[in-house]
Each structure stands twice: as C-alpha cells, then as structure tokens.
Symmetry: C2
Subunit: 193 residues, 2 copies
C-alpha cells in the first residue's frame, strides 16, 4: 500500500526528459543522462518507454493539444475581441509558467520529430495559427482593432510571449497576472505616450 506511487515512473521520466531536453536540446540530451536524473540505469528506462523519440513526441503533442483546447474555449466565449486576445495572452503565460520545460521543448525541439510526426505537428501548429488569425481578422472587421496586417500582428503577439519562458522566475517578484497585464497593455496600446 505505501508503495503505490502517486505519480507513475513513466510520468517522472517524461517530466525529467522535458527538463533535460530544455537544458541540452534533444540532440544533446542522452539517455544515460536522463537515467541518472531519474535514479536508474539507462537500460531500465526502456521498461517504461519505447524510445527516445517517443519522449519527444509525447511532450510536443501533449502540450500542443492543451494549447488547442484552451484556444477553442476562449474563441467560444461571449466576450469582445480585445478581451479574447487578452485571454489568449494570459493563458500562454499561464502555460509557460506552469509547464515551462515542456513548452520550451515544443518551441525549440519540434524539428527533431521524425518526419511523419513533424508533418502532423506542423499541421497542428498551422491550424492553431489560422484559428488565432481568424480572431484577429474578425476583430478588425468589427472595428475593434486597427487595420493592420493580420500575419504581422499574429506573429508579433505569439513571439512576444515566447521570451517569458526564458525570463520568468518567481524571484523577479512579478505575478503572472501583472505580467499578463503589462504585456497586454503594450500589445494593445503600444509603448508610445
């Protein structure tokens, strides 16, 4: 009874893999390194997973699905378009903070997915961007946003969120709510006085 683990070893391996991939990159991370962090021998890992590739796949698509779900939820809400964009900004920050390692892997190491999975991943990402672009387009039509280039706005917003991954630490003493508010303020109203 005391030995029933609350978190499965597989989950521990995935968590440590995400951390390791973030630190060293998928190519630079070794199974022996991962094993040491988990506290077992490299060969023993294969009692829980099929391959190194499988780790990457599970991290990328696991997080990817979370993004999809959240975006769909926000899109369905009955709020204004600026509020929707602000909600997207807030949940991106939320994801980065509560799942920093996995998000980093998704952002940086997706290109090491094997070819079939990479095609699937790109399709998923394209759809996400299209979905978000549609929100901006409609916002422009409704007069809520300036008549800006939608692609430029889309990627400016998405990219401006990515640095949070590298920058955020609780020790900086700024809450995620305040951070979301500050970033939203800049993207919505700009820096110019």
């Amino acid at each position: 009874m005391p030995s029933v683990p609350k978190i499965s070893k597989r989950a521990i391996i995935l968590r440590e893999a995400a951390k390791l991939f973030k630190e060293k990159g998928f190519g630079g991370a070794t199974m022996r390194d991962l094993a040491e962090r988990v506290g077992i021998e490299a060969a023993s890992i294969y009692n829980h997973i099929r391959s190194k590739d499988e780790l990457l796949e599970e991290i990328c698509f696991g997080i990817g699905r979370k993004y999809d779900e959240q975006l769909s939820e926000i899109a369905a809400k009955k709020i204004s378009y600026p509020e929707k964009i602000e909600a997207v900004i807030a949940f991106h920050i939320q994801m980065i903070i509560e799942d920093a390692n996995a998000v980093s892997v998704l952002n940086n190491d997706w290109k090491f997915l094997n070819s079939g999975q990479m095609i699937e991943f790109k399709a998923m990402r394209n759809e996400y961007e299209k979905h978000l672009a549609a929100l901006i387009s409609k916002g422009i039509e409704h007069g809520a946003f300036k008549k800006i280039n939608v692609s430029v706005a889309l990627f400016t917003i998405l990219s401006s969120l990515r640095w949070v991954e590298l920058w955020y630490k609780p020790s900086r003493g700024i809450s995620k709510e305040d951070l979301a508010k500050d970033i939203s303020a800049i993207l919505m109203n700009g820096v110019k006085a």
Copy 2:
C-alpha cells in the same frame, strides 16, 4: 591566377555551417554532413578550422559584434527616442534578412558554446540588453513613452522581432521596409483601434 577564390574556403565552411546548424541544431549537425555540403571529406575541413566548437564560436560572436556596433551607432544619433527604437527594429529585421542562418544560430545554439565562451556570450548579451533598456528608460523620462515596465517592454520588443527569422521569405511579397513599418506600428501604437 584564375584559381584565386573570391571567397575563401573557410568562409564557405562557415556559411554552410551556419545553414546546417540552423537546420539541425548544433548537436544534430555532423562534420560529415557539413563536409558533404562543402564538397570535401570531413577530415579535410580541419585544414581550415580548428574544431566544430570554433565554428559555433565564430558565428555567435561575429554576429554578436555586428549587433553591438549597430546599436551603438543608433544610440549616438541625434533623433528622438521613438525614432531610435524604430531604428533598432529596422536593423534587427535587416540583420535577420541578410544573415538569417547566423542570426538563427546565435539565437538558438549559443547554449552549446563551451563554458568560457558561454560566460562571455552572456555578458555580451546582457550588456546589449542593458544598453537597449537604457534607451527605453530615457524615453520614458523624456515623456516619449508610457510609464511601462522597462524589462517587459524590452523583451516584448526583442522577442517580437525573432519570429521574422522563421517567417520571412521574399516570396511573401512584403519588403523589409514595410515589414519594419508594420511591426513598429504595432509596438508603438498597439493593435487596438
């Protein structure tokens, strides 16, 4: 006389290395792969360079110095602070477009520098960010910018430029001048109508 190359082989190797590192990451790139692209055997590369690490070092610091120089030039110009920030945006885009591969390596693979060089690199980058942050701070003091969190503004601007590396291709039919104008417009005045 006809065999005097306009570009040294070393330069060709560096150019191809940047392209290869961008595609596969530093860890995923192999010397044999690089050699094939250059059209010689892997061992022959070592007639021109000392090590794989040296390639990374030269790419990262070469581009890093370019950034430093350009920023200093802009800071010294007698123009308004918003104009300075816009000039920074424009030259970042310029760098990304004319040296896409090397910029990508600097952004993504600096963490594979060996420890000494990595310390040096981080110091260089910190100084760059400080330099740019000072521009924003002074802009706020002069009343040219809103009273925003300087760090947040700094990283929002820097990050919002990085996607250009992944997104820009001439085939999209937008000039770098127009791109700079669109991004500047969003960062200066926001998306809200």
